[in-house]
């Protein structure tokens, strides 16, 4: 696949010679048309810089950026302005013009693109309808909630029918409920128009909800990238693992520590963290091991979630049984593509379950 957005060996360094900070080091990414591509990383990992290189808000020191076959990094300032009209962008802090009403904000890009006033208003109203703010066109941004502001941001970003929508931490200053509704909006737009979306975030939840593919950025480099579902089932890089654990909301209850202490002393008891993805989530694996190996299972905590539409479950259980029944059941589970983390002490519990 050629890739609608292609980054080739992008490098960016900030600061002077004496105090250099390498933000990006030889980063290459390909985003296919119609994809929702997530870029995740801890704060300061360089992910924001990376997305800003795509529309040259940040000029990379080295490497090339292509959007829809056009080499953005090779354009003059006039051509770059034209190219930017086809690259929509939304921001963490919305960045709406406080001096303009909602409708005037939405049609601002059309004004810059020199569209007739009548056409601007017509299109602006249609966009507001799309984001569900048709009754707010005469309001000023300061009269809106954060979620509404971001909806205006989305409408504005879509005004020029962009080929790609860049989202720079669009939900990072929103509450969880509003975050979900904005992510749903992005998902709807992606499906309705086949619009390619690049989503920068530090929340694994956002990736899990709407992204098809994801790249994990750590220390200015791509730690790993691929399909979201693969990332959740078999994360390779430490950052990825930590982020997945952090997002799979199973907080071990306090009394789990007591059980853990008791079980670590007993040879026939073992606390494990099980994670299921896709098919194995639908299978009655727990009752299978109870029946086939004669183990007892004490469920300490559990959670089932979805990655896009694929179920994904995490469970913290204590297995107990005679002889090597516990070991056998662990092998059996592994054979079913259930990932099993053996938890032996409190630090395991904290790192592997609570996500550090």
């Amino acid at each position: 696949m050629a890739g609608l957005v292609r980054l080739e060996s992008i490098s960016k360094t900030f600061g002077t010679d004496s105090s250099k900070v390498i933000a990006l080091e030889e980063v290459s990414l390909h985003v296919a048309p119609g994809e929702i591509f997530g870029i995740i990383g801890l704060s300061g990992a360089g992910k924001s810089t990376l997305v800003r290189c795509i529309n040259m808000l940040e000029v990379p020191d080295g490497g090339k950026v292509y959007v829809d076959g056009l080499e953005i990094t090779a354009l003059g300032s006039r051509e770059l302005r034209e190219a930017r009209k086809k690259i929509g962008m939304i921001f963490q802090h919305f960045n709406l013009l406080s001096s303009r009403t909602v409708l005037e904000n939405v049609v601002f890009p059309l004004e810059i693109a020199k569209l007739e006033k009548g056409d601007r208003v017509k299109k602006g109203r249609k966009l507001l309808e799309l984001v569900g703010l048709e009754d707010k066109e005469d309001a000023y941004p300061s009269q809106l909630s954060g979620g509404q502001k971001q909806r205006v941001g989305v409408a504005r970003a879509l005004a020029n029918d962009p080929k790609v929508l860049l989202c720079d931490e669009p939900t990072s200053s929103l509450d969880p409920q509003t975050t979900r509704s904005i992510l749903r909006l992005l998902d709807t737009i992606n499906k309705a128009f086949g619009l390619t979306i690049i989503l920068i975030t530090h929340e694994m939840d956002a990736i899990r909800q709407i992204c098809d593919k994801v790249a994990v950025i750590a220390d200015g480099k791509v730690a790993e990238s691929g399909r979201v579902i693969d990332m959740f089932t078999s994360p390779r890089h430490e950052t990825t693992k930590a982020m997945i654990r952090g997002s799979s909301h199973i907080d071990a209850p306090d009394w789990a520590v007591e059980i853990l202490e008791a079980s670590s002393k007993a040879p026939d008891r073992q606390v494990v963290r099980l994670s299921f993805v896709g098919e194995s989530t639908g299978r009655p694996v727990i009752s299978s091991i109870v029946r086939d190996f004669g183990v007892d299972i004490n469920i300490l905590t559990a959670q089932i979630d979805h990655i896009k539409s694929v179920p994904f479950g995490v469970m913290l259980v204590e297995l107990s049984g005679n002889g090597d029944a516990v070991r056998k059941s662990i092998d059996f589970l592994r054979g079913l593509e259930v990932s099993v983390d053996v938890i032996d002490n409190v630090s395991d519990l904290l790192i592997k379950v609570n996500g550090g």
Partner: protein, 220 residues
Amino acid sequence: MFDARLVRIIVSSLGETLYMVGVSCALAVVLGLPIGVVLVTTEKKNILDNPGVNQAFGAAVNIGRSIPFVILMVAIMPFTRILTGTSIGTTAAIVPLTIAAVPFVARMVETSLREVDPGVVEAAQAIGASPWEIITKVLIPEAKPSLILGVTITAINLVGYSTMAGAIGGGGLGDLAVRYGYQRFRGDVMFATVVILVLLVQGVQTLGGTLAKKVEKRRS
């Protein structure tokens, strides 16, 4: 207590002051606004990043602001004569008043524009707006309430400067206060002048404040 002639003189002096302040303030805004815009936009990393131009304008503005008004007025008399044909009178006073106010306005504009959220400018850049469009459609409209207050302060300063100009033959309320209030020992005229000046400043401040609030209020 004043006879009709004195009242006429006071009224016409007030008219002269309003004329001097009004015209010089308008000219100072017309000339100072672009300079303020240049000071902000040519800064490093800004939309027209140009350190050379930035430093040149910055230095010029600082020189302009460091010359005391009384000295400026006298020093540029030849220049004033070229522009207006005379170095005495109300119209002539407009030249030094404007020149003194331009760098002041420029710094005021600079401060106001700097308050504009850089994120908003970035959003405009991402949309494909040119520097000119960013200046006229983003920076200035976003800074409007603050700019209005800046003009208000400039106008009030100019009222003060205009009385100095009056003292050396520029006419207006300052001239009136010196000729009647001081040289002819008319304490009542002096008092009336001061009262009028206080009211004038009060009026300008209220007008500017109300206008700025009105613009601001529409947005919140």
